[in-house]
Symmetry: C2
DNA sequence: ACTTCCTGTAACTTTATTAATTACCGAGAT
DNA sequence: ATCTCGGTAATTAATAAAGTTACAGGAAGT
């Protein structure tokens, strides 16, 4: 399958709303930054809006963050656009007549959930403000190198 | 994309080698347990062999675990069949002329790696012996319910 | 030696997921 | 009234994984 970049693109989008708050925030402009299509941007915004992370007004280019960036964790963005999609997939179709095939799902599910929760705990610890701060630091480094 | 079940299927395979060690371990028999095709099983075994987890002999059905199950972690199985595939995908193609698009990959990579390492640490903590033990416990529960 | 069963791979096809595209409705601004 | 833009549905294209077919060659029994 094609690998999903929704999570990364959504973080990009939200950071863009903050950093370019003074510009015209059309889906076209945002799409140019992510290098995707405006429709994809609007689809992402639709999910972010439903998750309560941003507000939008139909017909006019006024997307806005619904709360301060310090109050939005990477995890809440992940849930908003990926739902509760598991990081590790259990093979759902194995032979129930076999000792292994009949029990492995139950067993793996537990360990996978542990691992996923560990990753999610890290995502929960980071806010979008951290991301924006780091982007600006990287940008400053870049500009310093040029001089 | 279709989500990969290689990791789960490989754990299944290795547990099968242990639990059914006394039977004929043909790729057909293993495939019947995983409910996949023998070729898929042989492909998985090829990767597990290259990673040093099992030994096989061409032409004869004698796959064997290369080390005790207590010495094989879920993480080593994951690496064997998924390589260093990241759990969270960075969008590689964003506008470098934009402050966000030009720096976000660098920033996200760090946080994604943190999260992935947390998950991997959990996987490293669990051995295949734990999995086999749990499978046998589940099976015993099942049999107890039937009486 | 011959036959049978099996592994190891390569090549190709099918299936599933995601992103991209096209198209259209209706809201808001000028 | 017109122009711009968001929201969404429907379709197409791209991509990754699993399934399938095919075949070369090893091992073991007869």
């Amino acid at each position: 399958m094609r690998v999903s970049t929704r999570f990364s693109d959504s973080i990009h989008l939200l950071a863009y709303l903050k950093i370019y708050a003074d510009t015209k925030l059309t889906s076209d402009a945002i799409a140019a930054s992510i290098e995707t299509s405006p429709v994809v941007v609007r689809r992402l915004m639709s999910k972010l809006r439903k998750a309560g992370l941003i507000t939008t007004t139909p017909g006019t280019a006024q997307p806005a963050l619904a709360k301060p960036l310090t109050d939005i964790s990477l995890l809440s963005v992940f849930y908003a656009v990926e739902g509760d999609k598991p990081l590790f997939a259990v093979d759902p179709k194995t032979n129930p007549a076999c000792i292994v095939g009949g029990n492995i799902q139950t067993v793996l599910k537990q360990y996978y959930q542990d691992a996923q929760m560990a990753a999610e705990a890290r995502l929960a610890r980071t806010s979008l403000q951290d991301i924006v701060d780091n982007i600006l630091v990287e940008q400053a480094k870049k500009e310093a190198r040029q001089n």
